[in-house]
């Protein structure tokens, strides 16, 4: 045996399979994968599809923890398949299942329609103070680094659905908005350029929303991007209560920074030479 093969280990992957055309309910199937150090779960799935079972399906896109497509339940804990190395979790066997709390379309592919519907419900876009300025901008909205920090952490969300899977309220409540949508509502509410709090209030203040979070804290534990939805939801509860008690501070108007008039452009900087020949 050469040195390269010595490092490889046989790992058993139990994968939850479901074919809507044949199966009534999902069942486990077992595959053995030769794993070398550094191999991710996504690599393992590709290896199975290439060499053992071409019918296995799952969702993936970027392979580097940016797109949020490949979230799945790895040995009972939701994580990104592309971000997790097999040997980090186990040296014998692991179980792969689709994200619970969503319908299964096929094998490891969950139906995330609800996640995106919830996201749409909280109006995830900046609703400015000045519609005319938003449509025909004369400059840039001014934001201090301090104002940026207030929401920056929550804007790293990639909508993978891990938090929706880990949340105990999501397990039973079909109408609950879920940690992802609520954290995003807080992200837009705290943005200094945004004036949408009043129109979002009816959604986030209603039943099956912010107040059905009881701080089990699991969303923050499983988040692959460190977004901490639990913190966002608690801070939003504070906002809602302070607003109800009429103690909430009004947001300051967001300044527009026009194009400076008293500076001159540098005399023309030469365009770099083309690297490809122009036709």
């Amino acid at each position: 045996m050469d040195k390269e093969n010595q490092q490889k280990r046989d790992i058993i992957l139990h994968i939850r399979r479901f074919d809507p055309e044949r199966d009534e309910s999902p069942h486990l199937e077992q595959y053995t994968v030769k794993v070398e150090p550094g191999m991710t779960i996504l690599d393992g799935l590709h290896q199975i599809k290439q060499n053992q079972d071409s019918t296995l399906s799952w969702r993936f896109s970027c392979r580097m923890g940016v797109c949020g497509s490949c979230a799945m339940l790895v040995s009972g804990r939701p994580m990104l398949a592309c971000n997790t190395q097999i040997l980090d979790i186990t040296d014998r066997a692991l179980t792969l299942a689709p994200l619970p709390n969503f319908d299964i379309i096929r094998d490891l592919v969950p139906d995330l329609t609800r996640l995106f519907e919830d996201h749409v419900a909280i109006q995830p876009y900046i609703q400015g103070q000045d519609a005319e300025e938003m449509e025909n901008p004369t400059g840039e909205f001014f934001q201090t680094p301090h104002e940026l920090e207030k929401y920056l952490q929550f804007s790293y969300c990639i909508k993978c659905g891990c938090c929706m899977t880990a949340c105990p309220t999501m397990a039973t409540d079909r109408e609950y908005l879920g940690p992802m949508a609520l954290a995003q509502a807080y992200r837009y509410n705290t943005d200094s350029r945004d004036r949408g709090y009043e129109s979002r209030k009816s959604v986030i203040g209603a039943s099956h929303s912010t107040f059905n979070c009881h701080y089990a804290g699991e969303c923050s534990n499983v988040c692959p991007k460190g977004v901490d939805p639990a913190r966002a939801i608690q801070l939003m509860k504070r906002d809602l209560v302070l607003d109800y008690l009429k103690l909430k501070k009004r947001k300051k108007a967001c300044r527009v920074m026009g194009i400076p008039s008293d500076v001159e452009r540098k005399p023309s900087i030469p365009f770099p030479p083309y690297t490809v020949e122009q036709k």
């Binding site: 809507p20 319908d103 299964i104 379309i105 969950p110 952490q153 397990a171 534990n221 901490d228 639990a230």
Partner: protein, 147 residues
């Protein structure tokens, strides 16, 4: 994706409240808080009627209090003390968290990620210790000194 395609409902249901075993401690506190709350509420409704017996005078009150000395009621009361002490102190922790005093401010996520769970953990430890202290004091009084 057409809607008439058959899909499997993968919702966890009430079993999802309990968690699978690889969850954090706050999740178990959440479920115990819930159980203790329901338990204390049931006891409280009975307690309203029990306390109302005093309108019938000492002839009814004293025999009822004699019945309450029975070990079955003693053990029941001990459970109420445990449930109440936990629910009260964990509830104070939750109120502090939910009003935004114990979760900290948004911060730049740097791997390994720290979350608001780490921010509130000292508070959680203090509250659990206080709950244990209350349970010990109340239980001592209940079991060895009287009721």
């Amino acid at each position: 994706m057409s809607n008439n395609e058959k899909m499997y409902d993968n919702r966890l249901g009430i079993i999802g409240w309990l968690g699978g075993g690889r969850w954090g401690i706050e999740r178990y506190l959440y479920i115990i808080h819930r159980l203790a709350g329901v338990g204390v509420l049931i006891f409280f409704i009975l307690h309203i009627f029990e306390g109302n017996l005093r309108i019938f005078g000492p002839e009814i009150w004293n025999p009822v209090m004699k019945v309450m000395e029975h070990p079955v009621f003693k053990v029941g009361e001990l459970f109420i003390i445990i449930g109440f002490a936990f629910h009260a102190l964990n509830g104070i922790r939750l109120i502090l968290i939910e009003l935004g005093w114990a979760v900290g401010k948004a911060e730049e996520p740097v791997y390994p990620y720290k979350s608001s769970l780490n921010t509130q953990r000292p508070l959680m430890v203090i509250m659990l210790l206080l709950a244990i202290l209350l349970i010990a004091a109340g239980g001592f009084d209940l079991m060895f000194l009287g009721h």
